[in-house]
């Protein structure tokens, strides 16, 4: 695992990981991950080359590549135009660009903010 210039932990596109992945910092995945990803309080970005087969639990999730698995985001999910997502999405807010592909459920759970 290398660190991106922005300070983001990064999984490069030649990297393959199988198993449970957890952490307490933002993560950029441009490689392949099979298993599960837990980043509570932090964000996951699946880059354009990323191929993730995992359930994802994070604060925010941005998908530009392919993600097979359910997404549980406490804050926000963004599907960019190149995103291909097969799985259910549960989040507070969602943004989907024209051209993104989704096979699955979108469930928006509202949290009252005062």
């Amino acid at each position: 695992m290398s660190t991106a210039p922005s300070g983001l932990a990064q999984i490069g596109k030649s990297v393959v990981i199988k198993g449970e992945l957890s952490g307490s910092e933002d993560l950029y995945v441009d490689g392949q991950v099979d298993g599960s990803i837990a980043l509570k309080g932090n964000s996951l970005t699946v880059g354009p080359n990323g191929q993730v087969k995992a359930s994802v639990d994070a604060k925010g999730v941005v998908v530009q590549g392919k993600l097979d698995g359910n997404i549980q985001a406490s804050d926000r999910v963004e599907l960019r135009k190149s995103a291909v997502v097969n799985g259910d999405i549960s989040t507070q807010r969602i943004s989907i660009e024209e051209g993104a592909f989704l096979k699955g459920k979108v469930d928006i759970h509202r949290t009252d903010t005062k």
């Binding site: 989907i96 051209g99 993104a100 592909f101 989704l102 979108v106 509202r110």
Partner: protein, 238 residues
Amino acid sequence: MSSVSQNFMKFFRGSSGPEVTPAQSSQKLTRRSSGLAELSRSWESAEGLCILDLGSTSPTNIRHFTERGHKIYSEDLLTASTDPDLLTKDEQGNTVLDSRKFLTDNLVYPAAQFDVIFCWNLPDYLDESLVKPVVGRLWSVLKPGGMLLAFFHTRDAGPDSPCHRFHIIGGDVLEMQKIELRRESRRGPTGAVHTAVSDGFQLQRVFNNRHIENLFRDFASIKFFLARDSIREVLVVR
């Protein structure tokens, strides 16, 4: 059916996970929909509905329903029907699609899950071998009393009959977006990316009223709305 092989000349997917660039489209038209108007009364007055959209992923539709507190499921059956793994031979040796495999991979939901299903123009463009099995599955996943909206061409405008995506932009207004270009790519054994481009889906047939009634004969009721643009809207209730 020749359309099967035609479609597969245009569409392909690698088993290792395709990189799909969903339909690129430009032309947008709006149309009033009487079927949608009737259907929309149900989601304006109800909470927490479970809705299934069988068209291309539509951010507009997802936003429309999630803003109202409903759950929406998105599943693009037409694109799913282009999976080359579905190709098989029938008893006469003709190339057909394996409807059993199709329903193993798609529309996999518990019985009576949905309050509303948007079929859009799916039956007009779906391969013949899949239409009845798909409608049968839709019956089973729709709740008793649940409603399904489908559109049918009233006449064959030939290969120029465009396949549209539908976006809900009002209680009775749809934005129709022509699917003009679809591009899919996959990595070959050498790692090179191969790309196929097609000009969209072709109209497979024109259903008349009797065909449509037959197609939905297991449902409790069926209502027809004839529009000016040669589209017959059908609202069925399970």
